[in-house]
Point group: C2
Chain length 318, copies 2
Amino acid sequence: MNLIEPSKVSRITSIGGGPIGGGWTAHFLARGYDVISYLHDENEEDSFRDIIDTAWISLEELGLADGASRNRLTITTDLAEAVKDTHFIQESAPEILELKQALYEQLAELVPDNVVISSSTSGLTMTEIQQRCSASERTVVGHPFNPPYLLPLVEIVGGKKSSPEAVQWADAFYEIAGKAPLVMNKEIPGFVATRLQEALWREALHMVANGEATAEQIDTALINGPAPRMAMFGQCMAFHIACGEGGMATNLDQFGPALKLPWTRLEAPELTKELRDRMVDGCNEIAGSRHFTDLAAERDRGIVAVLKGTRAARTTTA
Amino acid sequence: MNLIEPSKVSRITSIGGGPIGGGWTAHFLARGYDVISYLHDENEEDSFRDIIDTAWISLEELGLADGASRNRLTITTDLAEAVKDTHFIQESAPEILELKQALYEQLAELVPDNVVISSSTSGLTMTEIQQRCSASERTVVGHPFNPPYLLPLVEIVGGKKSSPEAVQWADAFYEIAGKAPLVMNKEIPGFVATRLQEALWREALHMVANGEATAEQIDTALINGPAPRMAMFGQCMAFHIACGEGGMATNLDQFGPALKLPWTRLEAPELTKELRDRMVDGCNEIAGSRHFTDLAAERDRGIVAVLKGTRAARTTTA
């Protein structure tokens, strides 16, 4: 493979007229790329432009790249036209395996051979999607989080026939393109973020089913409790910082036994020495040379910002 | 019972010299109350004042109530002195059942009989704590989220002998005192927020145990994916808004079957008609008359604020 340099990408193809395809288009335009968007049906154009115009309000507020403009968008219903001079393809077609397999088979014939094709799929694997694609080594999953024009996460993973080089390329490219890429080593259902979110979500459904909480209580609890902290530092570091000098080691050594308490319906993993050390080392790496008091001060500044920001955002329409 | 009016409370006793007792003290001072803090040992005073001084930086940034001052704090190691003229007690003693039972037995003798005693306990139930207390009808759990001077959530629940009046009183009082109270009908381990957080946490530990993700990847995924959205709207409403006009009904009717997919190790609840309707009605109640496009715009403003705020908070020490 002789892929284009990630930093040389200036022209991107976005496939799909729904909220994900529209969200990606808005994001790439805001980062100063030329974007050509492929829609399956020309009647989708109005709603597609609405998605972009809505996203643009937030993207302007976050800050546009130099030269970024919605005028740099081209819309077409001709797939060959959409991909012929492209440097990168973000595919957000409907989540139907047969449809995606046919699309990737076709793309292999049309796309320049130095271009990576990345799928927004959330429910399929690239191993399944790439089965009939003759350019499978250049296909990866680049899964965004909704809304894709705002949330930075992109989970990247290859299928069985994907080249590790294409995965690395996607990692480098998304970073340059202003995203927060996360490369996974294995194809697992739900990637990382959705698995975590779904664990919480199922617990929420259990509580509602048992009459222990309402939807409103669940959201009140999250908004005023774990979420602002999690938005600032995630969950591993939230526990690491909360335990002071001892950090994650104190958390697991002291509260490890509480994992067996009936906090949730999710069966607890065995807290082996290996798991313990992996978590402790992981947190220490994130902390680096920062002392926990600095981290706690940083957490507090972040929570204040989250509280003030969400309060202001709510007040505007209250 | 003839409890003091929640709005007439001007003098609060905080019991406990650790981060939770110190955090509560700082919060109540910032809201303009006189606070008398009971420490078990006078040697705790320096570290206790450090906790308050650290908290004060954030509390000033969030905005102090009129007349709020750290000079309105009295510290004592005399329990009788600490509670004799008080209007409310927030107890944050160590999480040892025997110790709390003895403390509540003693408090019943010392505390004015129009005063509610609220425990910060996270791991014990009030039914256990109040067993030897002759004023058990006035005891409740008022469980904060760490750090208690910043995160607004207080989960309130009574024990078997607690009066519903005391629970209602605590709900009204915490609201006036600038907190986000959540009254639970049942004593369940972990209340609402910790149960949700622990479900996510166990899934995270499973992923680390299986080599599917590292601590850093988990935090990266949360910070850049679900957490900013959750900080703004919780999780029920995040799904409700993401599904457009159809809201939670579309979410459950369309993605309900996906609950059975191996997204997480948490066994999924049966998605009965009743559970489905409860979730749908709950979200519609929260939304009220707001159209989903307004909610989505509000969400986006919130996420922008969270992203800008956490970015600035990080940059300061980066």
